[in-house]
Subunit: 448 residues, 2 copies
């Protein structure tokens, strides 16, 4: 039997591509060497969000008296790592079984084992040869597991976080980007003694400088030590040495950046300088008929971008051609408050020489945010000065990661600040900040 | 001195219109006989949402152990009405002072007193005559305070809710619509013994029948007695009699529908059958130069519609003409989970003979909803079968009232289900339900 499509790797790039392929009638096999769902479902996006929700709940309970809840003895409250972890893994199990069900429902063959690519039409798993019309590589990425001058025994690899029976008291997070930022704040919320070692102040690559600065300021206000350094000098006797700094440290949580997982291949796959699989505009590798989607092509580390690439490549294989706008996706950071961004940053617009307008509106003037007890944050809207087209939106708010979807909608259909101002937003809702920023962009916000 | 505009009533219709008028340079006076902010800010939208957030927090704390929070003794937990009320009123104070500040900032004169309209250009307050070019009536509405066969002493008028030092144990909510539904659930969440007397199963007028049915089913599952009746027979000795039903009742919370507050006027203002001030397409009353916005014109009871009407009329007076789409606004219900709707209902489409498609996606298949612990709910998307235009969206979800804003965006710019499916939604977010419903409308959802 010959497949229409073989997909290697069952993370959010591969499994979504496989479901889509099944839906459009391609005879598809999905090869996975470890866990269906990949990093995202098994130890990334989903379980980390679950434990972050637990940590947020801990914070809510601590402050619930303000809302009029009597009978909580703060001295008795304790974060139960084991229970929060089990809750997270239960959700993982529900979702991964759901994915397996959907794959079967859409007639995708799941093959467990390691794939070896022979050529554009041939793959083998455990020496069993499989023929195919097309191949999609969706093998993802893995972290650099080595931190110079730190023993492996002192390092917690993120992939192993959910294996730990308990978390140590003093943790140094090493790295940058959303994962590092989220982990620092999670550990702080559950009352661990956490510090951050990060290469420079640009803690959120790709995000607007305003957001990076916000995060650093937030950590400072929470008395979380932040040390800027690429390297660690030494870690011993519960202390981590970086230049003149000594940080309390039982373990280092490794949130360093990630490298491509390159599948074994007889066909030569060209790689870029950073070691990711090169892809052209149609996400095809240097080998005709072999595509690469998700982390492995180095275009982003975001699950939703990986999934979108998967759907897009499958549609393309099926003959549905469309333009793939690689810039128009949200970047979400699950801190408290949450941080979200879509489109251009201010620096992008300055670099592009665009005449733009920045309009902002603070949550502290939003009634619903006040009732929810989350008035720290704002919306920042970047629009074209002449035509009012929305070019970028950033939100800091309790549910920013969902609120940003409204911005995605306007940007998808090239909406303007006039459209936003004219859209009736329900009262009282946090989403009214969009309308206010829209009015502000045109002329004046109502409540400012 | 002659004003460009006199606005009577400082609720969300009037005060927003006044700020807007000030912004566009109209010399404006705002006349209010009671409280700046009106019903919405003082005892409606804002403080009720604040106590609902307190009640939700109570529910969260009760169930926090599931998230891994140790040390909560459920037997000691108690909802403190007084404290939640004071929190709500503190938010009210912050917002009303904010509104007063904004009115002054925009050079609006606030006149406290009762207005009498003499003609299109003349109003008096406490016998002081004021000349003006235009008048906007924004006097709002008041509830029918009388419930037949129930003594006034047995009735809690909503306006007086926040004056109560404590809430009785057994409460019967009388009425229909969002306010009645929200109050029933609020009282249930804070562990009161609540029942509902409502005229018929159409408990949410204007909402899709699916949503009304959902609410009734939810109340049934919470063991909240629901009795269908327009009238109450008797209320005595802690019992309320309706037909064959006897409900435990210390007080009846009056959530009956509302009547227009008609200002004193020498000029004859034509009213509709239900007693609301008649307005034409430009929201002008039967008197040229006198407009009516918000509850008083009977077009809706929603604060955001009132505000939108206010901005629109002011723009019109200033010469900025635009079309006012009276149908394209969200209807939000702050239950738990929240309920939100925009655009057409299924019945609307059937009545209009539209060939439509209903696509749905459940929260139980959404990863972020699972991590948040809120997987009860769904999205329902109604779209035109031929062109895919989004015609209506309904959401039941923890933050449905904010999520609906994405639907508002698509509908404002006449977006289609293709646009929605192509919009990259961040993972993991609850907003992914939009993308799934979009795919479902076109062909097949990914995760279904």
């Amino acid at each position: 039997m010959k497949y229409d499509l073989i997909i290697i790797g069952a993370g959010p790039a591969g499994y979504i591509a496989a479901i889509r392929a099944g839906q459009v009638g391609l005879k598809t096999a999905l090869i996975e060497k470890k866990n269906v769902g990949g990093m995202c479902l098994n130890w990334g996006c989903i379980p980390t969000k679950a434990i972050i929700e637990s940590a947020k709940m801990f914070g809510k309970v601590i402050n619930a008296a303000e809302f009029g809840i009597d009978g909580i003895d703060k001295n008795h409250l304790k974060f139960n790592w084991d229970r929060s972890k089990k809750r997270a893994l239960k959700i993982v199990k529900k979702l991964t079984s759901g994915v397996e069900f959907l794959l079967k429902k859409n007639d995708v063959d799941i093959i467990i084992g390691e794939a070896v690519i022979h050529d554009s039409h041939s793959v083998s798993v455990d020496n069993r040869n499989i023929e195919t019309e097309n191949i999609i590589i969706a093998t993802g990425s893995y972290p650099n597991e080595i931190i110079a001058n730190v023993d492996q025994i002192q390092i917690i690899q993120l992939e192993k976080l959910f294996d730990l029976p308990e978390l140590p008291r003093n943790i140094v997070v090493y790295g940058k980007g959303p994962v590092a930022v989220e982990m620092v704040q999670f550990l702080h919320m559950i009352e661990k003694n956490v510090s951050l070692v990060t290469p420079d102040e640009n803690i959120l690559p790709g995000a607007d400088a305003y957001l990076s600065e916000y995060v650093i300021k937030m950590f400072q206000s929470l008395d979380i030590p932040v040390v800027y350094s690429e390297t660690i000098d030494k870690c011993s006797d519960g202390l981590l040495y970086v230049g003149d700094n000594m940080l309390q440290c039982d373990k280092v949580l490794n949130c360093s950046l990630r490298n491509a997982i390159i599948p074994k291949s007889d066909a030569d796959l060209v790689k870029d300088e950073a070691g990711f699989v090169y892809t052209d505009e149609s996400l095809q590798t240097s080998q005709k008929g072999i595509f690469a989607i998700g982390d492995v092509n180095g275009r982003s580390y975001l699950a939703h971008v990986a999934s979108a690439q998967g759907i897009w490549v499958v549609n393309n294989i099926k003959g549905v051609k469309s333009h793939f706008d690689i810039k128009n996706y949200p970047l979400n950071i699950y801190t408290y408050p949450e941080i979200a961004q879509i489109g251009k940053t201010e620096q992008d617009l300055i670099d592009d020489g665009v005449d733009y307008k920045l309009s902002t509106f603070p949550l502290s003037a939003n009634g619903k945010a006040l009732t929810e007890g989350h008035s720290d944050g704002l919306i920042r809207m970047l629009s074209d000065k002449k035509y009012g087209q929305v070019l970028g939106v950033q939100i800091i708010a309790d549910h920013a990661t969902d609120l940003i979807a409204e911005a995605s909608a306007y940007m998808q259909i090239e909406g303007t600040v006039y459209d936003i101002a004219q859209t009736v937003h329900a009262h009282p809702t946090v989403s009214e900040i969009f309308m206010e920023a829209g009015f502000e962009a045109i002329d004046k916000a109502i409540h400012k």
